[in-house]
Symmetry: C2
Subunit: 462 residues, 2 copies
């Protein structure tokens, strides 16, 4: 693949300067139009071999476009916060809001490519990462993002010659690091691994562009022109959404979990005299479990969904009462704020992923997309329809990292729910819990029930 | 101080239930009004001795108010991200936006109080932290925040009795930890240290409330009532801004730094033949310096301010060209977004503080408050006037943590500036760099010049 790279067309200085001047003006126009439209996040991924001038290209793009609307992120060795959270967490943090641009240096490819080159990971792990990258980029495209990936290439001879030339001059010697030479020695294997990664992830909605980087100026121009073309296509109209990804399906439980009520016989009412000691004993066991050293490599994610007035708040308080306040956080999930709506649906939940050793309790959750947003018509059918797959991938990422994810659906019968609504209306301080939306949802609750994900545990409360 | 604590007035169950019902309804009303007004951030700090029920009070406030508009943060031992950044960084991250509420558990007091109790820090360090807390809370009050601090207290005998009672029952034994007993053994010293902290930071704009916590229910009610009263005062009208803090003045350079031009003779133009090798040699030295192990305990903050068209962008690119992309970030500073305007002025800059071992380059900066915002009238006089002190405190915090902060003012003569503006107008891709604001500022530039902070290095470029 890399051998067949077409060399860039040479041009003289005058031609080049005129081309750059035109390109810069056009790029700026396109950037401002994208910004004004506030629909399309732009993600430019710059990867490639050492010495190919990736840093120069990143600087140049920042110079040619208006850098106040660009956020550039580079990803080095993981720090503690990144190690203690799922693999993709740090990349979600770098996503731009609609209309803005992110230049991501190396990003989600380099780490896994270099791990594979140095044989720190085996082929199945490498393949799994490529698949989760494909899912991630597919999700971005479904969010109307422009995703462009550039691989700046040098053959081994040119790379060596470039390093040697830099090293000969005392003033530029520092530009060549031991890691550069390490990579050079594995140039052949790097090409093989990168080729596989590129072939597997070269989707029409997130295409790769292989660029001959022997002439840095021409390389910059080529990258800039590709960016411009893509921005113009995005401006010309909303692109067709990409086709669904055909990836090996994720493991999903075959049958819905049996309601807990059936398993533990919770339908029989419990007296307060029995309840309180039983609760305290369970709280104690939970507390001690989370204090065990083994929990340092795990995290706990508790999701509470269910009918309004089913008692989510009370259930959450009974759990947090058992936990050390420094080690958990409750996330009451409301409708997304204006700021949050500028990002993909799952973005705000990725932000709140607990690090290892911590617990996160969600009072309502990402399932809002396929529940209230679907029923109320806040999300387009194609958006809530794809959310099922995205949510599965999302939870799988967390679980693969070591999170224990428990999801609870608290159910009440329509009669009991109506009774509680009326009681709330009578109690002044509970009135805030009754909203117009709730009354609407109550009328629609017949349509809400069948949408319950089969994998949630059913806790029948009345 | 703690001995003279007035016991809370006892009440029977009926009285209590009625009082709570009324309080909850009123608290919710007040919370929604504050939210709607979107002017006042509310910060409730819950501290106190072990076993006093701080966690219960935090849970109860979340139950009594609408938790979807509250963010609760607890601060345990510092993780890596927190250790590698200035002391106050993690507290800035917990601040609520205008209209919302933050409940901060222990927060900025406990860490320093407990460090002092266990003699991990000496008295001068303790005093310095208290002073920086006072500055922080003063800043919050100037931003119209409601700041309420609660110390929930138990005397040593009650504390011991409470621990013993919990330990006697197998179901509740887990609630008493070794740290609780450790604190109990130092109860007397804790009281002494806490008393000093409370006395020193009991400002009218951020008052302490000492609560007798022997009866948890009464304690909750007392806290709730104080919160309600403060919210109502805030709703009644914008409070008088607090008086300036009279704190020991911070070290500020006496005289303005001499313009670099005078020191290095940069006024004489340099030929390109001399310039390029000199630049590369300096870039190399910078690169190698930042690769030294000693830099792991430092960070580098470069601030570029100056007249429009003075060449900030070019200067920044010449520096980043010397750096490893994974270890620096450029922050082009535009006007604050709507989201950022909901927080104190310096909030977005605290967010971008580099961790140790990293560099941050600011293309324009927090000085915008006392430059463009002042000249253009975007900030009220009292707001830009206090920014000088806040900026000094802010930079001092970063430097105390080990940051190397260099600030550059790039100057051009009005003639040269006009020449560059005209050149930009003629070049299509440079036109975006000329805004209406720039033209206005150009006309006002006589008034802008004398506002230059005396501590910035002057780099005369023409």
């Amino acid at each position: 693949m890399f051998d067949a790279l077409t060399p860039l067309q040479a041009m003289d200085d005058g031609q080049f300067d005129r081309a750059v001047a035109r390109l810069r003006a056009d790029l700026l126009d396109a950037q401002y139009s994208i910004l004004e439209q506030a629909r399309t996040p732009v993600i430019l991924l710059i990867a490639g071999v050492a010495g190919a001038g990736r840093g120069v290209v990143v600087n140049t793009l920042n110079e040619w476009m208006d850098p106040r609307h660009i956020r550039t992120s580079a990803f080095g060795p993981r720090d503690e916060a990144e190690r203690l959270r799922p693999h993709m967490w740090r990349f979600w943090q770098a996503l731009p809001s609609r209309g803005r641009t992110a230049i991501v240096f190396e990003a989600w490819f380099s780490e896994t490519i270099r791990d594979r080159v140095d044989r720190r990971i085996k082929r199945p792990a490498f393949d799994r990462t490529l698949q989760s990258i494909r899912r991630f980029e597919h999700m971005l495209a479904m969010e109307d993002a422009v995703v462009l990936k550039f691989w700046l290439h040098l053959d081994a001879d040119t790379q060596r010659a470039r390093f040697k030339a830099l090293e000969k001059d005392a003033a530029t010697r520092w530009r060549v690091t031991p890691e550069d030479w390490h990579e050079h020695r594995h140039h052949r294997r790097l090409c093989k691994v990168a080729e596989k990664a590129i072939r597997e992830t070269d989707d029409p909605h997130a295409p790769w562009h292989l660029i001959d980087a022997r002439d840095t100026r021409l390389c910059e121009l080529a990258v800039g022109r590709i960016v411009l073309r893509a921005l113009r296509v995005a401006l010309a109209g909303r692109p067709a959404r990409p086709a669904p990804l055909l990836l090996p399906s994720m493991a999903v439980a075959e049958a819905p979990a049996a309601p807990v009520s059936e398993a533990v016989g919770a339908t029989r009412p419990m007296t307060k005299a029995l309840y309180q000691p039983a609760l305290e004993a369970l709280q104690g066991r939970l507390n001690l479990l989370l204090r065990q050293p083994a929990f340092d490599a795990r995290s706990l994610v508790l999701v509470f969904e269910g009918m309004d007035a089913a008692g989510k708040g009370g259930a959450i308080r009974r759990i947090t009462h058992a936990l050390d306040a420094r080690f958990y956080r409750v996330h009451p999930v409301a409708a997304p704020s204006e700021h949050e709506r500028k990002y993909p649906w799952l973005w705000r939940f990725w932000r709140d992923v607990p690090r290892n050793g911590r617990a996160a309790l969600f009072d309502r959750s990402w399932y809002g997309r396929v529940l209230v947003e679907r029923v109320e018509g806040f999300a387009e059918p194609e958006d809530w329809a794809r959310a099922y797959d995205e949510i599965n991938a999302f939870e799988q990422e967390w679980v693969a990292h070591g999170a224990v994810v428990c999801k609870f659906w608290l159910d009440v019968s329509p009669d009991e729910q109506l009774k509680r609504f009326n009681e709330r209306s009578r109690t002044r301080f509970k009135r805030f819990k009754i909203t117009q939306a709730m009354r609407r949802l109550f009328r629609k609750s017949a349509s809400l029930r069948p949408k319950i994900s089969p994998r949630k545990k059913l806790l029948k409360r009345s």
